[in-house]
Symmetry: C2
Subunit: 400 residues, 2 copies
């Protein structure tokens, strides 16, 4: 059958990340691979009550189809949620998606022809790169610094595209505590990127999964807040700071673009899960979503700090890392000569510890052999210490 595969299969990501995720559930392995939220912090009692309420109050809706663009009451809650964060929008500028991953897919589907240049953080989110690859985008990485992407690198890259046949369509950004780098984009850079978008005529895909997961500092304004030229397509998700399994996320963009996404979503999955939308809606109306946004900050901070301490204590001097102030990840550079994929093959078998090799986060995997991503979100602090100890010893052994 292979001769019948579409050309895009050749550029589609392999199933490596999926393989790795299967390790998450194995009891004998300490896995820093997941990057998934912890069920320890889910508001289960409240969610149970809300779900029961659905059966009492709207039983005929719970299992029926929703509309393609999503339920109006949920959109109304998102309008309020965004308004409290400085972004004024309306139902008409929102569409509900089946997780932000679907939004990444749909945006690429309606904007990217094979060979179109799209800018991504380097390193950047594996699922964002995957969606772009699956539509045969030409992915151009923009170097990451501690305060987000390098503006110099961005401008240099943009200058090279001037006058070329194919313009840069958009830049994909995770401004807050990005995956995997942990970097937060500074306010100055947010404004500068918006200026450059106007000057070079490209769009900004602003993805905000970790924006609520700020453990030490005030939220910065979304880029969307300054968006006077309608250049920002904003994505938001309940997965990381509330619960992920309901698969509820949203896109906020000008109405004509929402209509386009709606046409694409109708072909993609008709509509998102109704019970998921209803649960989030009622949780939002009861204030539970905002309560949870505060609670998770307290919950994850000790885990971040446990990992930071353990890295200091157990990792060889030849390693280095960035200490994030939010999100789920440490991004670690290995000693020269240690290959992260080879290291993983050994640590799974011999040390019973797992992580994601840096290769997953670059359009060109070879850029990532010296890096690993370590997630602290779904492991208790004592296990974090034990796992980092094992991993530090393994790195020392294999680099020696």
């Amino acid at each position: 059958m292979k001769e019948y595969y579409a050309e895009r299969v050749g550029t589609m990501a392999g199933g490596e990340l999926g393989d790795l995720m299967r390790l998450v559930g194995r009891d004998d392995i300490i896995s820093f691979a997941g990057g998934i939220p912890s069920p320890d912090v889910f508001p289960l009692a409240e969610l149970k009550e809300i779900t029961l309420g659905l059966f009492e109050n709207e039983p005929r809706q719970v299992f029926q189809y929703s509309s393609t663009e999503g339920r109006n009451e949920l959109k109304d809650f998102i309008v309020e949620f965004l308004s409290r964060r400085g972004v004024n929008t309306s139902r008409e500028e929102l569409i509900i998606t089946s997780g932000s991953q679907q939004a990444l897919d749909l945006v690429a589907k309606v904007l990217v022809d094979p060979g179109d240049p799209v800018l991504v953080e380097k390193p950047g989110y594996v699922g964002g790169i995957g969606a772009l690859k699956s539509y045969q985008a030409r992915i151009l990485g923009i170097d990451m610094e501690e305060d987000g992407i390098s503006i110099d690198c961005l401008e240099e890259t943009l200058k090279k595209t001037v006058g070329k046949e194919r313009p840069v369509k958009y830049i994909y950004l995770v401004p807050d505590y990005s995956n995997p780098s942990g970097a937060r984009l500074s306010v100055e850079k947010r404004r500068k990127i918006l200026d450059l978008a106007g000057k070079y005529n490209f769009y900004i895909l602003e993805d905000t999964p970790y924006s609520e997961l700020s453990y030490y500092e005030e939220r910065l304004d979304y880029i969307k807040k300054y968006d006077e030229e309608n250049r920002v397509i904003m994505l938001g998700s309940f997965s990381k700071f509330f619960v992920p399994g309901l698969r509820v996320a949203w896109v906020c963009a000008p109405r004509p673009f929402i209509e386009l996404l709606s046409r694409a979503k109708q072909d993609a999955d008709l509509a998102s899960s109704t019970i998921g939308q209803l649960i989030i809606t009622r949780a939002g109306e009861k204030g539970l979503v905002e309560t949870q946004a505060r609670k998770v900050r307290e919950f994850y901070r000790p885990r971040l700090e446990a990992m930071g301490r353990a890295l200091e204590k157990y990792f060889p001097a030849e390693t280095s890392w960035f200490t994030p102030r939010g999100g789920f990840f440490f991004w670690v550079k290995l000693p020269a000569g240690v290959n992260s994929k080879e290291l993983l093959a050994k640590t799974i078998d011999e040390d019973k510890v797992a992580f994601v090799p840096g290769t997953a986060f670059f359009a060109d995997p070879k850029d990532g052999y010296s890096y690993v991503r370590l997630s602290f979100s779904d492991i208790e602090p004592a296990m974090i210490e034990e796992g980092i100890k094992r991993l530090g010893e393994a790195i020392a052994r294999y680099s020696g």
Copy 2:
């Protein structure tokens, strides 16, 4: 922004069906447009108990991510479900999708390059045609007869493709009570199509949403049952005979193809809703899915018959239709000179009755101006009679 749209946007379906679906909820309109199952038949009490059980027994799983390919226990239930229907398969040959619409999208994504010929029923399912259009397939319609697609038309079409640069990749079939025609594919034709697939080297996408909704007769064997050459990609869904809002469906195909779909699904939405998968799993284990498969047959048959009687009584002699023996739809030919889209514009405003114009079900809309699709699934028999009366009078008025 339009100059940045991808080329495929030009062939993507318009949002017409979405617009029409919004009429479903309007109290002042009798809508035969929906084609959605009736909440009157959903097993709400049992579903409530099952959902409560999830909070008791597996609270930490309910809101967490699932794996991309779906939960093993759900696959185990589907293996049994299919085994009772003569198809032997295994976990490895299954992937869970967010509704069958996602399966239609993913299959097109991994098999269709722009311009590739794909065969569809004529008339055929709007969502199947939409998915193909969104990947710029060259859609070739195969005429429908009362016992499914015309084998003569199929052979003629295939002969024309011999020696052409681009081979036919697959045929998309809804063998049981197809949407919109209501036709069921005969056993002889099922076998013949499989023979032709071997002879002309194409694949069969067998979609079975209405297979349980057989109101007068025994289920026929799935094409998949006779599939010795691994030519059938089978889709199944819980939406029409169980509940649709959980968005749980599946694909059964050889393992290498499932792996390919899994890579595509990871880019598309990471994973399907966990609570939806868990509810269907527990319902399956308790026997509720099979009980419901029997119950819906009794529930929908009187609605089908009410529509049949009303059509006989109220529709002008110049109309004709096929009386289905299962599924949700009557497919009606209008009197010469009546345009279904123009008719709809009038009946919504003046007669307060809606339907889907036949144009939606053809790759080339002009083939459908003389037809309308009428769904009887979500309307009580008395309202069916009233709506058909209004519509019959409207047709008489506009054709006179």
